[in-house]
């Protein structure tokens, strides 16, 4: 059975180390994280991992660290560019290989790029980014074990999510958590740390434990399944949200409306850029955001619910 692995060496190093209290997750730390994942995957049964051979040698390092507890691992035959394109291509390749799960180690941006490459991927996002709105934050060894189990019971282990298809002058992009128009017209470092920049956007999550726009949405109340929330920022009302690590901010809101899968929102052209999953990216003028079904995400509780004891999983 096949599991895809994409680890992003570049997450958790951007300007939010200075604009807030975002921590650095350096490559050594990520390699250790991936090594623990691999240990869990191997223990879970007969599984082969196909991985992106990232430009920092992160996965290679993880395999070294894991030593004897690494599962069989092959690298995808891809030209690596040290950009987001690597994640997208690797994800697409894993889709073609019919991987039972796609493990993505990074932040929201990494997950986004992976989803772009494989829209309904059986995704296992492992937190190693600044804002980990969608990623799993549990011990990677445990996640690895769950992955090995989940690929054998996919219907019960992965839950569908909602995503956003963003269409603008540039073409089409996918966002997994949020697509928000901001005033700034320059991509710069990409990150957003000032709520006053927000104009309007759509967010797919209202998780109380999330950070970023999802936290803003959580303050507005729960979100129904198969729905996203269209928020217009600015105005007299404000809600308190965890905008980033160490950043608790009051965010001004004018109004919001929950919209179902299939619905679309056209953004006002006055804004500058649309940020996708927290990173300034595409021009905002004539931008259409459509609510679509997104990747399926691993649910640990449901996965572990399919067996009572750990020793059951090495039956194969």
């Amino acid at each position: 059975m096949l599991v895809g692995l994409i680890a992003n060496p570049y997450s958790s190093k951007d300007i939010r180390r200075l604009t807030g209290l975002a921590r650095v997750v350096d490559v050594e730390e990520k390699a250790n994280l991936v090594a623990r994942l691999l240990a869990g995957i191997r223990a879970g049964g007969d599984t082969t991992v196909v991985a992106l051979d990232d430009s920092a040698g992160l996965v290679r390092r993880a395999v070294d660290l894991a030593g004897g507890v690494a599962p069989p691992l092959e690298f995808l035959d891809l030209d690596v560019e040290a950009t987001e394109e690597d994640t997208r291509s690797a994800s697409e390749r894993c889709s073609k290989l019919n991987a039972g799960a796609l493990v993505v180690v990074g932040g929201d941006g990494t997950v986004r790029a992976a989803a772009e490459g494989w829209r309904d991927a059986p995704l296992v996002p492992v937190a190693a980014g600044t804002n980990n709105a969608i990623a799993l934050t549990e011990e990677p060894t445990v996640i690895g074990l769950a992955v090995a189990q989940a690929i054998r019971t996919p219907g019960e282990s992965f839950v569908p999510t909602v995503a956003l298809e963003v269409e603008a002058r540039h073409g089409r992009s996918l966002a997994v958590i949020d697509a928000v128009a901001v005033r700034d017209r320059w991509v710069g470092t990409g990150a957003i740390w000032d709520p006053k920049q927000l104009v309007q956007g759509v967010v797919t999550s209202s998780r109380r434990t999330a950070v970023g726009i999802a936290s803003v949405s959580a303050a507005l109340g729960p979100l129904a399944r198969d729905h996203a929330r269209h928020i217009i920022f600015g105005g007299p009302r404000s809600v308190r949200a965890v905008f980033g690590p160490g950043l608790v901010r009051d965010v001004s809101i004018t109004s919001f409306q929950d919209i179902p899968v299939g619905a679309a929102v056209k953004l006002s052209p006055a804004a500058g850029l649309v940020a996708l999953d927290g990173e300034r990216r595409v021009p905002a003028s004539e931008c259409m955001i459509r609510v679509v079904t997104g990747p399926r995400i691993l649910d640990l509780d449901r996965t572990f619910g399919t067996f009572d004891r750990f020793d059951q999983i090495s039956q194969e």
């Binding site: 570049y10 951007d14 300007i15 180390r17 350096d26 490559v27 320059w186 710069g188 470092t189 000032d194």
Partner: protein, 334 residues
């Protein structure tokens, strides 16, 4: 962070100026060294290390600088000196070894020193980092809110001085911004062959300060990161490390065959020339139009030409002046 139009324009103008200066120095450097390359011959003898492609690092810092801020730089200093506003005439004259130069011809291209603005550079890898720490100590002593910026390459991050300087700056909570210009090559040795870890910004936490990776060679990205880091230092919150992935478009030194970098690598670099890219964006965003760009080019080219003219028409120092300026107040005896 919204960036004011005048900063965008200023950064672009400065990039044009820097690139033109480096191009003209390169032309003049080679002009009279042939037929067989003789490093000692011509208007600009000796080594020459040019910064074409690394302009974003210099201009991104520029709008955040205050009078009195100190910069220490390397053997590849021109873009930083120009961005900080070092007198272009005197800088050019120094490169040409004339008595009107910053150092009266005694320092040359790797040893450019200016008092106002506060600029120094060195031909020894890592030498400027401790000096920036000391400048910051002085700023604190005198109650100034100035900042010291230490520039160095990714190769220098493996030199002891880097590690000592970061530790000292963090230990004493000094207003220093350490800026690593990662152009992927230390002369011919790629970073993958010199550095055990992937990114030097990862090293920052080992020394008790935040580290930021600016992954694109883009002036606005550098502007944002520098803005935060400089503001942080100025308000007394201590040092930080910024790593910028930049491009060294030409060889390590002029005359370098640069055979250790593949044609593919070089052509990819050329495709993402930051000057072209930024210019294009400014047009797209309608910050500048074609006429503006043309007039900027004219103005910057003229300024560069003026400085070179000044340099080339300045006299050489009298030979026995070599004995002066070793010490303040004393001439060395032969």
């Amino acid at each position: 962070m919204a960036i004011p139009r005048e900063h965008l324009v200023d950064m672009y103008e400065t990039m044009v100026k820097i690139r033109r200066f480096e191009e003209r120095i390169r032309e003049l450097y080679f002009a009279d060294k042939l037929p067989a390359f003789d490093i000692a011959a011509g208007l600009i003898p000796g080594e020459m290390h040019l910064a074409a492609g690394q302009e974003p690092v210099a201009v991104g810092m520029r709008p955040h600088l205050q009078e009195g801020d100190a910069i220490t730089a390397t053997h590849r200093p021109h873009h930083l000196a120009i961005a900080q506003g070092v007198d272009l005439n005197k800088m050019a004259a120094e490169i040409f070894g004339r008595e009107t130069g910053l150092g009266k011809g005694k320092g040359g291209h790797m040893h450019l020193f200016s008092v106002e603005p506060n600029f120094g550079c060195s031909g020894i890898i890592g030498e400027g980092m401790p000096v920036a720490v000391g400048a910051a100590m002085a700023f604190r002593h005198f109650g100034k809110d100035n900042v010291a910026l230490a520039f160095f390459g990714e190769g220098a991050a493996n030199q002891g001085a880097f590690h000592e300087s970061l530790n000292l700056a963090a230990l004493w909570n000094l207003p220093v911004v350490f800026v690593c210009e990662d152009n992927a090559y230390a002369i011919s040795v790629p970073k993958t062959a010199s550095t055990a870890i992937a990114d030097n910004s990862d090293r920052a936490s080992a020394y008790g300060m935040p580290g930021v990776l600016v992954a694109t060679n883009d002036p606005v990205a550098v502007y944002e990161a520098m803005g935060e880091a400089i503001a942080r230092a100025r308000r007394g919150d201590g040092p930080s490390l910024i790593e910028v992935k930049t491009d060294r478009l030409w060889g390590h030194f002029e005359g370098d065959a640069d055979a250790y970098r593949s044609d593919e690598f070089k052509s990819e670099m050329s495709d993402r020339d930051p000057l072209t890219a930024f210019g294009k964006r400014l047009l797209e965003e309608e910050v500048l139009n074609e006429a503006d760009m043309a007039s900027i080019q004219d103005a910057m080219y003229a300024e560069v030409e003026g400085a070179l003219e000044f340099a080339m028409t300045s006299p050489y120092p009298a030979p026995e002046k070599a004995l002066e300026d070793v010490f303040a107040g004393r001439v060395v005896q032969l």
